[in-house]
């Protein structure tokens, strides 16, 4: 084999290996970036909004705790409803960002409990009927 061909072959092998190395690096960096984006958009945002919904819940429970809430019933009701809406929005975001069956199940259970509690609390703002 001629020296020219040998050089061509050798440098082709080296170039191929170098290209493979570079491509592998590129793929690894691309995958890592994708994971970072998904991690931020998914679990990280989900847990933030979940923690936000929990904080909002604690604020709403505090509002509804006797003696600690607002004085005027109508204003309390408005605040309570606003907090409920905020909590619903946060959970909605959690649902959108986290596509996981277990999380969906836990989210659905949490929404049910919140709904049960909010329904129960909202009964308190309805006018009482006099027993006849």
């Amino acid at each position: 084999m001629s020296i020219r061909n040998r050089f061509f072959l050798a440098f082709s092998v080296l170039a191929t290996l170098a290209c493979s190395l570079a491509f592998s690096g590129y793929l690894g960096i691309a995958a890592s970036g994708d994971l970072v984006v998904r991690l931020y958009d998914g679990p990280l945002m989900g847990i933030n909004h979940a923690r936000s919904a929990h904080a909002t819940l604690n604020e709403a429970r505090l509002l509804m705790t006797p003696g600690l809430g607002g004085g005027v019933q109508s204003e309390t009701a408005i605040k309570f409803r606003a907090l409920l809406t905020e909590m619903t929005e946060d959970l909605k975001i959690v649902r959108e960002r986290v596509k996981n069956a277990e999380v969906m199940a836990t989210l659905a259970k949490a929404e049910d409990r919140i709904r049960d509690w909010s329904d129960a609390e909202l009964q308190r703002f309805k006018p009482r009927r006099m027993a006849s």
Binding site: A10, A53, L91, V94, T106, R113, W117, R124
Partner: protein
């Protein structure tokens, strides 16, 4: 029931809080899964990259090692081969079976090595030839570089200057070379001249040469020749011999090699200078022409070597006698003296007296005392000639007059001699015109047997001059021989005689005389053949008569010519037999067809016993040699009777018939007639 929290609401709020806590934990757990997945992906990529990096490095190292072994080693070998070739080693074998570029490179190197070896061999051969040429040159050669340092030289240079090998070397300076010559004792006698020439030639870079003398006496010619882009070359030629030869040649150009006296050329120059000087200074000088008497006899009797020694001795004695006067040998036995200064003719007469004593004492050659004498002719400037030619001519005229009158005498020029010479010159001029003017005519003298039967004629030429009348052959033939006109005359005589004889009904023979001068010039046999072919005469009817003078000058050549004539079928007769002193040897050397007794002997028949004895001897000689003998000049019956008695059967003379135009013998050539009738016609 405001202010009171129902138990169920509280419970429900706790449940909701718990559910949200579960949600947070579940989402966190989900996020941790992501984190684990990302970590795994990064680890995988890192491992892949690391593996690829290690693999690439390893492959690179392996390729480097492979290339190192497969390429650098052969390249190193090729480099070594190239270095060996560059160093001039062409003997190593370069072999490569590789098929790549290195293989081609090595094969190319092998080819290049072969070519270089061929070129080197060729260069070596050329160098050997150049070396051989250089060392076989007749010149010493040195080549110098632009820095004036020695580049090459040849053996002859070393030999010429006797410089030991190794004394000079490549790079030697001019000073070192001069030192080497100085040590060898071959330096230049005039170093200043050499240095100046060399300096000029080197500085101006122009060819130059000089002739220098070495301290050992040799003479060397040195030439400087600049060479483009090289330096300059000097060639050295030992011209000692040549210079001596040139000096010798220059000497010989103006000197006679035998006597070392000045020769004719030197005499001419000296005479011209003396004449000019004398003319300018109103001076006088004498010119003496000297002719040794009977020198030819000395040559013939004692031999040419003895003759040469005689001449040398006479030259020496004349030199002494001249006492400073200019003496020259003009050739043969001719000398001349130019005597300037003194009062003429007294000084010339005094010199002549001294010259007379030169031959008082015989010249001793081998065991013989050789007597000599000379005849002198003298002319004086300005009395005897106003120019060089007339002076010489007049001195010669005086000499001829002295020789004619009495040998061994001295004659001064006289005006009467001049008149004789002028007359002679006029006659010579008229001879030249005689042929053109048809003034020559042929006379025929019959030759007969003793019984009277004419068998032929001797052809004789006569000159009928329009003013002088009949001019004697004894006068104009010698003049014609002097001027060289005899050749044309003899050819005319031969042609006309042959034409005449060819017209005769009676086939008689003719005898034609040829001069010795004819044998020195031209091709006689060819001329005779041409005439015979032209006239149609049978060769056996022609007889050529020669005298021994033909044989004296150049014997071998003359014999050769006579043989050619005889081969034509023409007969050859010896004329004037008995008057010479070596005729017998000529008879032995050449088979003559006839000998002719000179008329001087015939005329003395009955008056001189010696003459009769000579005739008796000649006739006896002819009988012994079986040669016909004819006697010429027979005028009386007594002479005829004596000749018949002696046995001479052929005669010619007035008794038979006078030389006359052929018209007088018309009947003889028409038919045979007897002696008595011939005599009647002749009278």
């Amino acid at each position: 029931m405001k202010g009171q929290v129902p138990f169920s609401a509280t419970q429900k709020s706790n449940d909701a809080a718990t559910a949200l806590d579960d949600l947070v934990e579940t989402v966190a757990a989900y996020g941790f899964g992501y984190r684990m997945e990302a970590e795994a992906a990064v680890s995988g990529a890192r491992a892949t990259l690391l593996a690829l990096a290690i693999g690439t490095t390893l492959v690179g190292i392996m390729l480097a090692i492979s290339f190192s072994y497969s390429m650098s080693k052969p390249i190193s070998e090729a480099t070594q081969v190239a270095e060996r070739v560059a160093a001039g080693n062409f003997t190593d074998q370069i072999a490569s079976h590789r098929r790549d570029e290195l293989g081609r490179l090595l094969r190319s190197l092998a080819t290049m090595q072969s070519h270089l070896k061929t070129r080197a061999d060729h260069d070596c051969a050329m160098m050997a030839k150049l070396d051989a040429a250089l060392n076989n040159m007749k010149l010493g050669v040195c080549m110098f570089g632009p820095d004036n340092r020695l580049i090459l030289w040849n053996d002859l240079y070393l030999k010429m200057y006797r410089i030991p090998a190794g004394r000079i070397f490549v790079g030697s300076t001019l000073e070192q070379m001069l030192e080497a010559r100085k040590a060898a004792g071959t330096n230049y006698r005039d170093l200043g001249q050499y240095d100046a020439k060399l300096q000029t030639a080197v500085e101006t870079r122009s060819p130059d040469s000089l002739t220098a003398e070495l301290v050992d006496g040799r003479i060397v010619n040195i030439a400087y020749q600049p060479v483009e882009n090289v330096g300059w070359v000097s060639t050295h030629e030992d011209i000692t011999d040549r210079t001596q030869n040139e000096a010798r040649i220059a000497h010989l150009a103006f000197h006679d090699p035998l006597t070392e006296l000045p020769n004719r050329a030197a005499f001419g120059n000296y005479l011209a200078e003396t004449f000019q000087s004398a003319s300018a200074g109103n001076e006088t000088f004498a010119l003496l022409c000297i002719d040794l008497d009977r020198f030819k006899e000395i040559n013939d009797v004692y031999g040419h070597s003895a003759g040469d020694r005689f001449l040398k001795e006479i030259g020496r004695r004349l030199t002494v006698a001249c006492d400073g006067a200019f003496l020259a040998r003009l050739g043969g036995d001719e000398f001349t003296i130019v005597l300037s200064g003194g009062t003429q003719p007294a000084a010339a007469e005094e010199l002549c007296e001294r010259l007379s004593s030169v031959v008082d004492t015989p010249v001793r050659i081998d065991d013989y005392d050789v007597d000599g004498s000379f005849t002198v002719g003298v002319s004086i400037f300005p009395q005897h000639g106003s120019d060089v030619d007339s002076l010489v001519a007049n001195a010669e005229a005086a000499l001829y007059r002295a020789k004619a009158e009495q040998r061994g005498t001295i004659r001064f020029f006289e005006p009467a001699m001049d008149r004789h010479i002028r007359e002679k010159r006029v006659l010579q001029g008229e001879i030249a015109l005689a042929l053109e003017r048809n003034e020559l005519e042929l006379h025929f003298q019959p030759q007969a047997v003793s019984g009277g039967e004419v068998f032929g004629f001797e052809v004789l030429v006569r000159w009928r001059h329009p003013v002088r009348g009949m001019v004697s052959p004894g006068i104009f033939i010698p003049l014609a021989e002097e001027t060289g006109l005899i050749g044309g005359i003899d050819e005319w005589v031969l042609r006309e005689a042959c034409r005449e004889a060819a017209s005769w009904p009676n086939p008689l023979s003719i005898a034609v005389n040829l001069s010795p001068i004819d044998f020195r010039r031209g091709d006689i046999p060819a001329m005779i053949l041409s005439v015979l072919l032209e006239t149609g005469l049978s060769p056996n009817r022609l007889e050529i008569e020669i005298t021994e003078g033909v044989l004296i000058d150049d014997f071998e050549r003359a014999i050769g010519i006579l043989r050619k004539i005889k081969n034509l079928g023409v007969r050859v007769a010896m004329d004037d037999f008995g008057t010479g002193y070596s005729s017998l040897s000529y008879l032995q050397a050449f088979p003559f067809d006839k000998i002719k007794i000179d008329q001087s002997f015939v005329a003395k028949i009955g008056k001189n016993a010696q003459a009769s004895a000579i005739i008796h001897a000649i006739v006896g000689l002819g009988r012994a040699l079986e040669l016909p003998v004819i006697a010429e000049g027979v005028e009386t019956e007594e002479q005829l009777a004596f000749l018949v008695k002696e046995g001479c059967n052929e005669v010619q003379g007035y008794l038979i018939g006078r030389p006359q135009p052929i018209a007088q013998y018309r009947q003889v050539v028409a038919e045979f007639v007897g002696t008595s009738e011939m005599a009647a016609m002749a009278s």
